[in-house]
């Protein structure tokens, strides 16, 4: 049974953003702010860098486009050149559509599965799920969690700190497995 960290509830998106700024300024790095919907400006408040997901999607899109164009070229120029209504074997303008479609398809896979990879989901067991009240976060609650792995973590200090910046219903959570 390993310890996960401390969670504290905040009232509104506004107070969550202010809390995030204070947690960031205090020097914590292993913390998160949970909300029912994405909050504008939260990335800055938490001091997060821009998501790297875009690079992955770009690479996937490029792969898809190259694959699409290469597949068509290979089929009609190398694998089985066949004269169909006098069209040229390497009819590259006609390849534009499938090249585009496969670029979009691969980018979409990159976006969704890349998002899952960066978010480390699916992950069905997480210590925050052991809190009864935390589940409100998918409806109307706003929570800050500070993890035990944070180099600045000191349980009593963290609890006091969260209470001072306006957190309520503070809980210490452990991984019960």
């Amino acid at each position: 049974m390993s310890k996960f960290g401390v969670i504290a509830r905040f009232e509104s998106p506004e107070s969550l953003v202010h809390a995030a700024e204070k947690v960031r300024d205090k020097g914590f790095t292993k913390f998160d702010c949970h909300s029912p919907f994405p909050i504008h400006g939260m990335d800055d408040a938490m001091g997060l860098k821009r998501s790297k997901l875009g690079y992955l999607i770009g690479a996937m899109g490029l792969t898809g486009a190259l694959f699409g164009f290469g597949l068509q070229t290979w089929i009609h120029s190398i694998e089985y050149p066949m004269n169909i209504s006098g069209k040229p074997y390497f009819a590259y303008p006609a390849y534009a559509i499938i090249t585009f479609e496969l670029m979009v398809l691969f980018s979409a896979f990159g976006a969704v599965f890349g998002m899952m990879f960066f978010n480390r989901i699916p992950r069905f067991h997480h210590p925050v799920f052991y809190s009864e009240k935390f589940s409100d976060v998918s409806s109307d609650a706003f929570y800050v969690s500070i993890e035990v792995d944070d180099p600045k973590y000191d349980e009593n200090n963290v609890i006091d700190f969260l209470r001072n910046i306006g957190g309520t219903e503070i809980e210490v959570l452990s991984d019960e497995n």
Partner: protein, 459 residues
């Protein structure tokens, strides 16, 4: 605050009454959580299932007997199957327009209808995909569409618009499914957190362990934005490619460059018609008039007015170019549409697609719900006739009078078409029963409280 900010006024129109985060969750999640399924739902579901039975039976017979059971003949080789395919794909397009294009333009009002519209897209595209699948006759070799290595050394012709179409629609379906599911993840987490027992396990499985942390939202929002960004050119490409099935041929009446934009506008027009029909029914049955408001219906009617005028322009421009080209076959094809034996199809199209939306210039009609309901159905009748005009009227009289013929659909044409409604509504009703029909997370973003700078007039 004595003076209301613009955001407050806008939010009040889109989410009237005193709503907060909790009430939005309760109202939307309350529908799939209902202990007792409403009787209207069972009635509609029974109706949908009987249509689905017709679908299964008639498609089964088609596979057994072959496409000879349809009314297609020489020269009308493309009949209802292609009409229905284009019609269903077109309906799907409004869903993507609402979820992707309006998201990119930051049109928050879409948040109340996008889930709905995306689901409609999914089932509409499934219905559409049925037709190319079954119209090949020998559907057990339908996998020949795919570029699979095989012992015959046989490949699809990548220079043909028909295979472009296959790739476009297949990609469209896959991307729409991914987009829809990505949007659902936070809502599935909401349902998971409120459910108990087996339901909790099932919703929890699909929610993937979503925790709503900003470290997750950060990547999630970027993925969602990119999906919206790539769906936008995708949706424009799909109906453009569908139109090139026609436009790349040399048949008078089909061989025109106006087809791609004209098809896209028509697709959006019909899709908004379908979203309107479905949302008017759903807001009535589930009492969600305060979430899908008259304001939303008004905005949809405005888009229908715009796209209706665009197709009207395309119809007249086709005529003008047919005359201006000086090509007698081209001119004849269009005169034959309006004055030939199928004149009623052409004028039904003009009435439903050009005349009817003109009422939407007036706010009174854009907010009159029974009127909207009737027109939304007329829109889709009109768009079906548009494809009838393009496919049947064009083919039945082409170059040589000796090759002309009339086209009559059979009962199986009708049965399979009606059957796809069974497929569509069965899926859609199951969605209404088990999943949140409005995006819970996104509906909250319309509330001014969701903005952390709410209450500060300076920004």
């Amino acid at each position: 605050m004595s003076v209301k900010s613009k955001a407050d006024i806008r939010a009040e129109k889109l989410l009237p009454g005193n709503q907060d985060f909790t009430s939005i969750t309760n109202d939307i999640a309350g529908v799939p959580e209902q202990k007792k399924t409403p009787i209207q739902w069972w009635l509609l579901f029974g109706f949908a299932l009987s249509l689905l039975a017709i679908f299964v039976g008639s498609v089964g017979f088609l596979i057994w007997e072959g496409t000879g059971i349809w009314g297609i003949n020489n020269p009308v080789f493309w009949g209802w199957a292609i009409i229905n395919f284009v019609w269903w794909v077109g309906i799907g397009h409004a869903g993507t327009l609402i979820s992707a294009i309006l998201h990119l333009f930051r049109q928050n009002w879409r948040n109340a209808i996008n889930r709905f519209a995306e689901t409609m897209t999914l089932f509409a595209v499934i219905c559409a995909l049925v037709f190319p699948g079954i119209h090949v006759g020998r559907i057990w070799v339908a996998y020949w569409f795919l570029p699979l290595p095989n012992q015959m050394g046989m490949w699809p012709n990548m220079r043909s618009p028909l295979i472009w179409d296959f790739f476009a629609v297949f990609t469209y379906f896959t991307v729409s499914l991914l987009f829809w599911y990505t949007g659902l993840i936070p809502d599935l987490a909401t349902l998971r957190d409120r459910a108990k027992g087996l339901k909790k396990k099932v919703y929890g499985f699909f929610a993937l362990g979503w925790r709503g942390g900003n470290r997750q939202w950060q990547h999630y929002e970027l993925a969602y934005l990119v999906l919206a960004g790539i769906s936008t050119p995708l949706v424009l490409s799909v109906h453009s490619v569908v139109s090139s099935d026609f436009a790349t041929s040399v048949i008078p009446g089909w061989h025109t460059t106006i087809f791609p934009p004209y098809f896209v506008a028509g697709a959006i027009y019909s899709g908004f018609g379908m979203v309107m029909t479905l949302s008017i029914i759903a807001r009535k049955v589930y009492n969600l008039g305060h979430i899908i408001t008259v304001e939303h219906l008004d905005k949809m009617a405005q888009i229908m007015l715009l796209t209706g005028c665009m197709v009207g322009y395309a119809y007249s421009m086709e005529f003008f170019v047919a005359w201006y080209s000086g090509n007698p076959y081209e001119s004849f094809a269009f005169v034959n549409r309006a004055l030939g034996p199928y004149w009623w199809g052409y004028w039904a199209m003009i009435f439903c697609n050009v005349v009817v939306p003109q009422f939407f210039w007036f706010e009174k009609y854009r907010r009159h719900i029974p009127f909207l309901f009737i027109t939304s159905i007329l829109v889709n009748i009109g768009m079906w006739f548009e494809r009838f005009v393009i496919v049947v009227i064009t083919l039945h009289r082409d170059f040589m009078p000796g090759a002309w013929a009339m086209y009559n659909p059979t009962m199986f044409d009708v049965a399979i078409y009606l059957g796809t409604f069974g497929l569509f509504f069965t899926g859609f009703l199951l969605f209404l029963r088990f999943l949140p029909m409005v995006s819970i997370a996104e509906a909250k973003l319309v509330l001014p409280e969701s903005n952390p700078h709410h209450g500060h007039d300076h920004e």
